[in-house]
Symmetry: C2
Subunit: 305 residues, 2 copies
């Protein structure tokens, strides 16, 4: 039995709209909602659900149709880069499914969405049709505000749908990628300039870790700043290493770390890496974690009742 | 569907005997072997398996009959306290089963083992028949070597079987307890005296953490010492706190920590506590771990194929 995770990002934090989008996923048969979070400062909804090859595409489409119906990009503001109402829709192989198959799912999703909603769709990550497009940020350059001009450039021709600016919905990016870890760290300062310096120290393109994207945001409700990070390959760049460097940079600027959170689900492997480092554990694999070992043992022996 | 874990400890590190004991668990239908470890310095085999109410007792009995047949306590030496060939057999509630039901399983196991093998059996932990017997160490006082004398005392009358010393098999302790975390830390010193001081600082009865048992052992193959710990309630006394105090005591004696390992399976909750502390994570529950969330979501929706 295959399991694919889908983590669509929608450009809204309006709780009524959120509810209607989530409802569409819940109602898709054989799709299972894991989590969703949204906040005003990013003005963004991040959803996580799993399904099989059929249901995962079905649920992503159902939710996206609703989002495009309800979200108007002409009035959207937020601290997170975005180019569309349905901003980015990655498909992630979890179990008994290959990356190649996830690429096919992204293509299927992109083609259907473009056709049905008449919007431009780009393929990224493992589904990219040219090297630049592997990079989400390259596609998103100039964001929604400059999309009309960008889309007209020949090398930025959409993979599906019209090369024509859709003011209400913007454009959508879909693709396939490895499971990544999202991790946000709250800083005890309201100084966004300092937070940006700290984010820069970690960010791949600014000389930081090659598998890390880091950005700084101001959180008005708490009057603090936050470093939002995506660790694209946490096998190669484990979370503890990123966190320890963050601590170093924070110390340099005399900024306390006041808390942190996983953005979306926490991958077990990332937690194991943390324990392995801080407790100096010699060998700890996923199948040595009790709850996973039980699951594996019982899947093997199906007579267990 | 209920899941009970059983973690029997046998007094052997003879690989041929180990193999035959393990085989008995593997061959019990609806019982699932998770793990087993044994080493010469403790001269002890620790097995972990899961099953339902029926199969968990069945497998524990099958393995114990074989152990009693093959192990001779008259020639047994080891650094871990023990009173019998089948030293201790705890039943641990994991899923859809109460502690009370696990107490019943322990009693069933103990009664059958005593009857079939004609050996003294004590009930401990939640299954104890008087307050002193809740404590494994109280029952094991004087170990195998003094068992003949101990067993004759009225307040040490076995719960099952004859109040008579069995030289070949010794006695067995069985019971029910909460899931605990076993954690061993290797110290870069061969000085057992120092290791014992460090263990003492952590050990409940010596003024350490009320939920921690700690002992020191010498590992001749590596010429180092090891602190072996059982954290009996890792919700109340989280692993990071124990480890941080261990670091403090090691620093005091100028002893480096050179590695560590979970003894048996690592409980997910213990790993979460570690990440929560070292990464300052605000809220991370088991159901926010991707692999567990997927498992839960799919168990709820049984149409997933």
């Amino acid at each position: 039995m295959e399991v694919i995770e889908c983590v669509p990002n929608f450009s809204t934090s309006d709780s009524q709209i959120v509810e209607q989008i989530i409802e569409k996923i819940k109602k898709t048969s054989e799709a299972f909602l894991l989590d969703y979070t949204f906040d005003a400062y990013y003005n963004r909804l991040v959803v996580s659900f799993v399904g099989n090859k059929h249901s995962v595409v079905e649920a992503a489409l159902n939710a996206s149709f609703k989002a495009i119906e309800l979200i108007d990009m002409r009035t959207h503001k937020g601290q997170h880069p975005r180019i569309g109402a349905v901003d980015v829709v990655p498909f992630i192989p979890i179990k008994n499914v290959t990356m190649k198959e996830c690429v096919e799912l992204a293509k299927k999703f992109g083609e259907k969405l473009a056709e049905k909603c008449d919007i431009p769709v780009y393929l990224y990550g493992e589904a990219a049709t040219c090297p630049e497009r592997r990079d989400l940020d390259w596609i998103r350059e100039g964001e929604y505000e400059k999309l009309a001009g960008m889309i007209a450039k020949p090398k930025r021709k959409p993979d599906y749908g019209p090369a024509k600016f859709n003011p209400k919905a913007g454009a959508t990016i879909t693709g396939a990628r490895k499971l990544m870890a999202g991790f946000n760290v709250n800083l005890g300062t309201s100084n966004l300039k300092i937070a940006k310096k700290i984010a820069k120290a970690l960010h791949a393109k600014k000389g930081g870790f090659s598998n890390v994207k880091a950005m700084a945001a101001f959180i008005p409700e708490k009057n603090i700043t936050q470093i939002g990070m995506s660790i694209v390959d946490f096998d190669k760049t484990p979370l503890y290493r990123v966190f320890e460097l963050l601590k170093v940079e924070c110390a340099r600027h005399n900024v306390p770390i006041i808390g942190s959170e996983f953005c979306g689900m926490a991958p077990l492997k990332a937690l194991i890496d943390v324990a392995t480092y801080y407790l100096k554990v010699d060998n700890l694999s996923q199948d040595r974690v009790l709850e996973i070992a039980i699951q594996n043992a019982m899947e093997k022996g199906d007579s267990f009742e």
